[in-house]
């Protein structure tokens, strides 16, 4: 049995010994311990160093509010978790934990020089110091800040663990399974609706676990608890979730619960989820989060061994651990007396209770006397001593100025209580100042939510049980035998004879913010509490100021000379406690992070060792390198083969929308710039779509299947937005039209065949379509069969060669592709990817929406006036094309560019200037939009948007690049076969 373990106390199993290591040293704890309770049982208080000054720090709390005892847990490669609160870390056999913010070790830390020079590190130090000279940023300031900043080690390897996530629903969600939460669950369960009761701890019971002596309805707390939990677990509509933290409360009672599944299991292997995020939609939320005891802000309050009174009570009551042998008490609230008496009754000596108040309840005085405890009323602790653990305190009596040293090995403190408003505030519930509690409590709810128990200011077990019962819909009143919770006072500054500037009175332990810092911030002009918070960083550490916010607020309020309620409270934001990225991502990691859409032909391409590229969320075949080929060689070969014989390309990702109804043509007339009335059934036409602002939005070939039916294609990336755009106009503007839209993108696989042998290849496979030049001309469209399956066959070309786009029902796509590919061997059929497709189209000057246009390009800018009907009175974008800016001179226009050096392939996005000798900043007249090596032309080609570009045809422009300026001549953007003769090869 370790030195500070108190057999007969606590809810731990002392028969099960667990071995663990902290900073490499081996210790023993027992089943049911946290790391903090196990270390305390071994007499270890020093558990970490502070963030800024690297001061030695001990454990302050006993739960998730802990600011100091942050450790890194090592579970193997990639499985190091930093900033774990030792107070919440369940002990398991073989646990390896390390302290943080120290080097080389916890007892001797180099960084502690910050402490020695702390007078130079006041609030805003970084903001004030690391400003100039600018040249110091890279070499001096940044490395220094990086070195000093951060809590704990960042993991160096990807997290190998798995995580899970789900949605859930319930009628009642109860957050916190202390007395109020359990009572709420018991009463809500009776209504039959689904109830979820969650608690962040492994053991449910909240404060009852710390005060096992309390009696409820004549039963000891733990017996009542066991019976109640059993009842809840047996109720079918109740789900009890331990190790589950409600991390955030969002709109309409949507609450995120992070459940820790495996961290407490020793040697757990990678496999089943480590944590699970439950996204719960609740009809009603009952918040029973409890309250957090407030530290007192006094000189030396951060010495290891100084902790909250309630924590000491928890360590004894829940874990059977004495926090010391000689435990002094410093308080401004009655509740600390219960802790003192509990400790005293377990044979822990209480050398002194120092109370700021001159007068206290008689029963407390009497009980202290009975136990032989010295009371120091109207006094304060003015100083603490001890290097890595408190050794003594100095008690100061301001009325006489007398001082007295008292020896101790722990000091427990209470500055009153802070109801936990975190989730209430996430839900945007209103708060009000309660002067008696000197704390904010919930006011008007913003959701269907109630706050019960200590987090609502209802202190004491009976009050909590009654409030919980009521919130769950019941009426029962509980009888308890408990210590009267009592009252306290709250002071912004405690009496001390030492000059404030010489004191080290910490408010925020984790971020090392002192009383001085807050006062300084106010002196320097920061009056808003939100500004004070950011300037001092109070409450901005991983604990979000759970123990410090209200102390900071009171100090700031006094400094600005305003009542606290006028100063307000800083905002609480999710997550309530630090949460792993894994839990937030849940299942959505790796390939589940985003959908990768694959075409029916994708598996064939994959088998060919194709290189894929992402296009939106599709993955598309980019190029098909043969052995030894690089991208350039592969693309050159694919281009050449397509122009000379036959290329095959998977165009399945093209968006497709079927537009059907008697008013289909009218609708098309409104959505596209082109005219559609005259388009004959069996023909197709290039369509250009604008937004209402007159800029190009999308384009694609549209085939007319029947008088009342169009097969519309869109760009790959544009498919969803074009569909939405069309639906929007149809449903909200052109409501009189009888026409409907159906997305058919995935109904059809599309195989594009391009090259002089395209017709020859498909001829033997096609049934019911006359493929002859005369009867199936360019831009015609037929329905029939290919390879025995139905097809919509388009004679179109995005390459300038004879081309077909074969639409077949998607589940036949791969088979048809494979049949054509095999038959195509006689023509050396060559599969090509998007890169070759882009080169071939650029050689022809065909635009890619989104590459050669950028949302500021009109059809006239793009050199496509032929696509805009002059006769139509209306189409989306028509009126805007007459906007003054759009008809002004000097707009950027799409042109071709030929570099002076044919071997130079310009960079896409490169800026273009008219005068290469102009000093910087130069006037940029445009930029390169597309640029490729053209195998067909044996030189590079490019397209560009250039100011007044058409008028500049045949003039030289310049493209300054690092080290070199390229010269290029502006040309028309059609580089290859400008007459289009190749479309009509026999």
């Amino acid at each position: 049995m370790t030195k500070f373990r108190r057999p007969g106390h606590g809810n731990v199993d002392v028969s099960k010994t667990l071995n663990f290591s902290f900073d490499g040293k081996s210790y023993q704890g027992v089943q049911g311990d946290t790391l903090a309770s196990a270390l305390l049982a071994n007499g270890v208080h020093l558990m970490g160093r502070s963030f800024k000054y690297h001061r030695p720090r001990g454990v302050v709390g006993a739960g998730s509010e802990e600011p100091n005892a942050l450790v890194a847990v090592d579970r193997g490669q990639g499985r190091i978790t930093p900033n774990v609160r030792a107070t919440s870390l369940e002990l398991y056999d073989g646990l390896k934990a390390n302290s943080q913010n120290r080097w080389p070790n916890l007892k001797t830390d180099i960084g502690a020089f910050n402490n020695t020079f702390s007078m130079f590190f006041p609030a805003g130090f970084y903001n004030k110091t690391f400003k100039w000279p600018a040249s110091f940023w890279d070499k001096v300031y940044e490395p220094f800040i990086r070195n000093m900043a951060g809590l704990g080690p960042a993991p160096e390897h990807p997290d190998p663990d798995n995580y899970a996530s789900t949605y859930g629903h319930c009628e009642t969600l109860i957050v916190g399974a202390g007395p109020s939460g359990i009572a709420a669950a018991l009463s809500a369960a009776r209504n039959g609706g689904r109830v979820i009761l969650c608690d962040e701890n492994p053991e449910l019971g909240g404060s009852l676990l710390s005060t096992p002596g309390v009696q409820i309805e004549g039963k000891f707390a733990l017996d009542w608890l066991a019976k109640s939990l059993e009842k809840l677990r047996k109720t079918e509509n109740v789900r009890v979730m331990s190790r589950t933290t409600a991390i955030g409360y969002f709109h309409d009672n949507f609450v995120a619960l992070a459940e820790r599944l495996t961290d407490h299991i020793p040697g757990v292997e990678i496999g089943p989820a480590r944590e699970k995020l439950h996204r719960i939609r609740a009809g009603k939320v009952i918040l029973a989060q409890g309250a957090i005891e407030r530290p007192l802000v006094f000189n030396g309050n951060d010495r290891p061994g100084v902790m909250l009174a309630s924590s000491a009570q928890t360590y004894l009551g829940k874990y059977g651990v004495a926090v010391g042998n000689e435990v002094a008490v410093f308080t401004s609230h009655d509740s600390a007396y219960e802790a003192a008496f509990n400790l005293s009754d377990s044979n822990i000596r209480i050398p002194a209770i120092v109370d700021i108040r001159e007068d206290i309840r008689t029963d407390l005085k009497e009980q202290a006397e009975q136990r032989g405890i010295d009371l120091f009323l109207g006094s304060a602790v003015s100083k603490t001593k001890g290097k890595h653990r408190i050794k003594s305190i100095e008690v100061f009596y301001p009325n006489t100025g007398s001082k007295q040293m008292i020896g101790c090995d722990a000091l427990i403190m209470s500055g009153g209580w802070t109801p936990s408003l975190h989730l209430w505030s996430h839900s945007k519930g209103g708060i009000k100042w309660d002067a008696d509690l000197a704390a904010y409590i919930p006011d008007q709810a913003n959701e269907n939510c109630v706050s019960v128990g200590a987090c609502n200011g209802d202190f004491g077990v009976a009050a909590a049980l009654n409030a919980g019962t009521k919130a769950g819909g019941g009426r029962k009143k509980f009888n308890t035998n408990e210590f009267d919770f009592g009252t306290g006072i709250s002071l912004d500054t405690l009496p001390n004879y030492i000059d404030t500037s010489k004191q080290k009175a910490f408010v925020d332990f984790q971020n090392d913010v002192t009383e001085k810092d807050i006062k300084l911030a106010v002196r320097e002009g920061f009056k808003s509490i939100e500004h004070v918070k950011r300037y001092t960083t109070n409450g901005m550490a991983t604990d979000q100021g759970k123990t410090s916010n209200l102390n900071a607020l009171q100090i700031a309020a006094k400094a600005v000379d305003q009542p606290v309620e006028k100063v307000g409270l800083t905002t609480f934001r999710p997550p309530y406690t630090p949460t792993t990225f894994g839990a937030v991502a849940g299942y959505r990691n790796d390939q589940l992070f985003e959908v990768t859409r694959k075409t029916p032909i994708d598996p064939w391409a994959e088998a060919q060792k194709v290189v894929f590229e992402p296009v939106g969320i599709w993955r598309r075949a980019w190029y098909f390198p043969k052995k030894g080929e690089d991208m350039h060689q592969a693309v050159a070969r694919e281009c050449k083969a397509t122009r000379e014989s036959l290329g095959i390309f998977d165009a399945s990702t093209l968006g497709k929308i079927e537009v059907v109804g008697p008013d289909a043509a009218k609708f098309m007339n409104l959505m596209y710039t082109n005219p559609w009335n005259a388009l004959k059934t069996g023909s197709c036409r290039y369509g250009l779509m604008l937004r209402e602002d007159g800029y190009i939005y999308d384009d694609g070939v549209v085939g007319r299947l029947a008088e009342d039916r169009f097969h519309v294609t869109t760009t790959t990336g544009g498919a969803p937005r074009v569909y939405r755009h069309m639906e929007d106009y149809l449903q909200t503007e052109f409501t009189e039209l009888d026409v409907w839209l159906t997305s058919t993108t995935e109904q059809w696989a599309v195989i594009a065949l391009n090259g002089p042998n395209a017709r020859k290849l498909i001829e033997p496979f096609v049934e019911g379509i006359d493929l002859s030049r005369e009867n199936f001309p360019h831009m015609a469209f037929r329905e029939g069969k290919i390879c025995g399956v139905p097809t919509r066959l388009f004679r179109v070309s995005f390459s300038g060669e004879l081309g077909f786009e074969i639409n077949i029902p998607a589940h036949y796509g791969r088979a048809v592709w494979e049949m054509l590919f095999e038959a195509g061997q006689q023509y050396d059929i060559t599969p090509y990817g998007t890169e070759t497709m882009h080169v071939l189209r650029a050689e022809k000057g065909f635009i890619i929406v989104g590459q050669d246009t950028d949302g500021t390009v009109t059809p006239f800018d793009a050199g496509m006036p032929w696509a805009v009907s002059k006769k139509k009175k209306d189409f989306v974008g028509k009126r805007s094309l007459a906007r003054p800016d759009l008809v002004a001179e000097g707009r950027k226009q799409l042109v071709g560019l030929l570099t002076e050096d044919p071997n130079v392939v310009l960079e896409e996005g490169a800026q273009i200037v008219a005068d290469p000798d102009q000093p910087i900043p130069m006037d940029m007249i445009g930029h390169v939009t597309s640029s490729y090596w053209s195998e067909a032309l044996g030189r590079s080609i490019a397209m560009a948007l250039v100011k007044d570009g058409v008028n500049l045809t045949d003039t030289d422009v310049y493209i300054p690049m690092p080290g070199q300026t390229h010269t290029a001549r502006i040309t028309a953007p059609v580089f290859y076969d400008p007459k289009g003769e190749r479309l009509n090869v026999v």
Partner: protein
Amino acid sequence: MLLIHCPHCNEERPELEFAYAGEAHIVRPNEAEQAEMSDADWSKFMFIRDNIRGDHAERWWHAHGCNMFFNAIRNTVTDKFTMTYKVCQKRPTEHQIKVAKND
């Protein structure tokens, strides 16, 4: 994540199924009106939108549901939906909004 009552499905559905679609009750001028509109008026129709603090009439699309566009009154301070209604319906009066709020 908000719950949004779709006036077509007549159900409250999770926000994830919906897409925001801008301010409501801005009617596209017909071809005759367009022809008569000054550049200034056209640019006002195109680009000028209210930025209301409080009850805002806006359009939503039940993209992953019934596929219908509809209108909503939503408070831009609290984010809360007060009411939703079909595109063909007029903007609710202040009184109607008040009544809906108290529901």
